[in-house]
Amino acid sequence: MSPVVSRLLRQLVLVPVVACASYFLMAALPLTQESDAKRQVSAELAASYRRDLGLGEPWGFLRPWEKLWRGERLGTSAQGVTGDELLRKLSGSVGVGLVALPLALTWALGFALLRTRWRRGRWAVLGDAVPALAFGTPVFIPALLLAPAVVERGSLLPELSAALVISVWPGIFLGTLVGDALEAELSRDYVRTARAKGLGAGAVLRRHVLPNVWPALLDAVTPVATALLAGSFAAERVFGLPYFGQLYVLAVLNKQVAVVVVATTTFAGVLVLVSLAVEWMRWWLDPRSREVRA
């Protein structure tokens, strides 16, 4: 089997694994009834638990998906979700993530350039301090600082603000990675040889250095996509955006177990799609990935 196909299959298998693991974990939950516990769930919620998960039925683990396919509502009427609503909420979160991606790339480029400049001067310590500051900042902190301007005064667009706050850490992470990779490649012999033969700095960068930096950048795309999507959970909560992250948090808080199963699997599916896109780009950009290794 070629390494590309092997990698693709390895990614794809994640979706059924997550679907089954989350289903059987949720199906095994002892949801306590009003008569037998201090922290009770309502009768309506307990009924939706049995109905939506198809407990005790053969192929019961397909029941949540079957209901979504038929356009029926998962969970209780107030806090449940239909297939259309799920797709709308997911597209909202993905949209925020897609706006955040170019912002993250802008942060990355800016930080990589600044880091290269700082490395030569007395600001070198900032090259290490900024990533530490970004890494130590959970998304909800900048979201809370921006929130009064967004939610209370309405002076900023919530979606754009969410994209802005979730793009910071991935941007700095990418910037650090690309900066390091660029520096390593620029110090190699082939760069010196190309320059000595009279090729301009821009042409060396474009033709020789960047093709060798792409694989490092592609390796970082999946963790960055994960960070953007996971970060959107906190940003959506603070800015009150009614998208996928908000749906997920509310489903967990309200014990909407069927919604949790479906949302977890959907999230894994989105990550797998991103990984497949990355594999395709790697296959296209990096000839080494097309070689069959012994």
């Binding site: 390895r10 298998v13 994640l14 694994v17 997550v18 989350s22 974990l25 949720m26 095994a28 939950l29 002892p30 949801l31 306590t32 037998d36 516990a37 201090k38 922290r39 530490a132 500051l133 890494f135 130590g136 900042t137 959970p138 998304v139 909800f140 902190i141 809370l144 600082l145 929130a147 009064p148 939610v151 209370e152 992470f173 999946t222 963790p223 994960t226 960070a227 999507l229 996971a230 959970f233 906190a234 909560r237 603070v238 997920y248 948090v249 967990v252 808080l253 014990k255 177990v257 949790v260 977890t264 999230f267 894994a268 990550l271 990984s275």
Partner: protein
């Protein structure tokens, strides 16, 4: 003394100093914090100062991070050791499992595990786990994949050394080589990996607690901000958020400094968030 160990000591001093001060101020001398706080009273609880709640919650976040980091490191070490001992198809299957766990974001999986754990606790099947134990267990169950991958790669590198080949040529079995020859070389790396897990555990706990899913008592930093979040959104709360942010950054900085310095000493950098 070389530069790396000094950075490690600075990081460890920062971590332990902050944790010790927070514990002492929050539990032993709370009136000292209450009487001298320049940040004023809390928005939600007018009888408590911001310093009491933010600085007093720091040690809870640190304790969760330390315990969860230690547990996930031990789990990862065990998985890596078993994978290398058994080798072949079992090792490949374990690695695929590790990749699957590693692919999902920690926050999402911890939320699901918290839901499952809280349902078990509510029905009296929680094996005596309180909110602290539940959070530590959830974080450990999520966080072992990264250390397992790092330890497995490190073991593979160490196994290519000549002294290991010599030990095998002299008839040393896999378990013997692991115990006598590889473990001493792996030990410094274990500490570095443990410290590299610490920031991730602290940040994940903060985020999940902020959502109100974990019921941490006494309140951690994340839970403190989560319980006040409506007031912070509508009234503006930079005097609450900025100190909490500073404390989180200092914790993460301390752990990162120590981890990076120790890892450089052990000859390999731990990966990713």
């Amino acid at each position: 003394m070389s530069r790396a160990p000094v950075r490690a000591w600075v990081g460890l001093a920062l971590l332990l100093g902050l944790g010790g001060l927070s514990l002492a101020a929050g539990r032993l001398f709370p009136e000292a914090l209450a009487g001298t706080c320049p940040l004023g009273m809390d928005l939600q609880r007018p009888d408590r100062t911001v310093c009491e709640l933010a600085f007093g919650g720091l040690w809870v976040s640190l304790a969760v991070g330390l315990t969860a980091g230690a547990l996930s490191t031990l789990l990862g070490l065990g998985v890596a050791a078993v994978a290398r001992l058994l080798g072949g198809a079992v090792e490949q299957a374990v690695l695929r499992g590790v990749d699957a766990v590693f692919a999902l974001p920690d926050v999402l999986v911890v939320m699901v595990l918290q839901l499952a754990g809280q349902s078990l606790v509510d029905s009296g099947q929680g094996a005596g786990l309180g909110p602290f134990g539940l959070m530590v267990t959830s974080l450990a169950l999520v966080g072992w994949a990264g250390p397992a991958r790092m330890f497995r790669d490190r073991l593979l590198t160490l196994e290519s050394q000549e002294y290991v080949a010599a030990a095998r040529a002299l008839g040393g079995g896999r378990a013997h080589v692991l115990r006598v020859h590889l473990w001493p070389a792996l030990r410094p790396f274990v500490l570095a990996v443990f410290l590299s897990r610490l920031p991730t555990a602290i940040l994940t706990e903060s985020t999940v607690s902020f959502f109100g899913i974990a019921r941490m008592e006494p309140m951690s930093l994340g839970r403190y901000l989560g319980t006040s979040y409506a007031a912070l959104v509508y009234e503006g709360g930079s005097r609450v958020v900025l100190p909490a942010w500073g404390l989180l950054v200092l914790l993460v900085l301390g752990a990162s400094l120590a981890s990076q310095a120790l890892t450089r000493g052990a000859g390999q950098a731990p990966r990713g968030r």
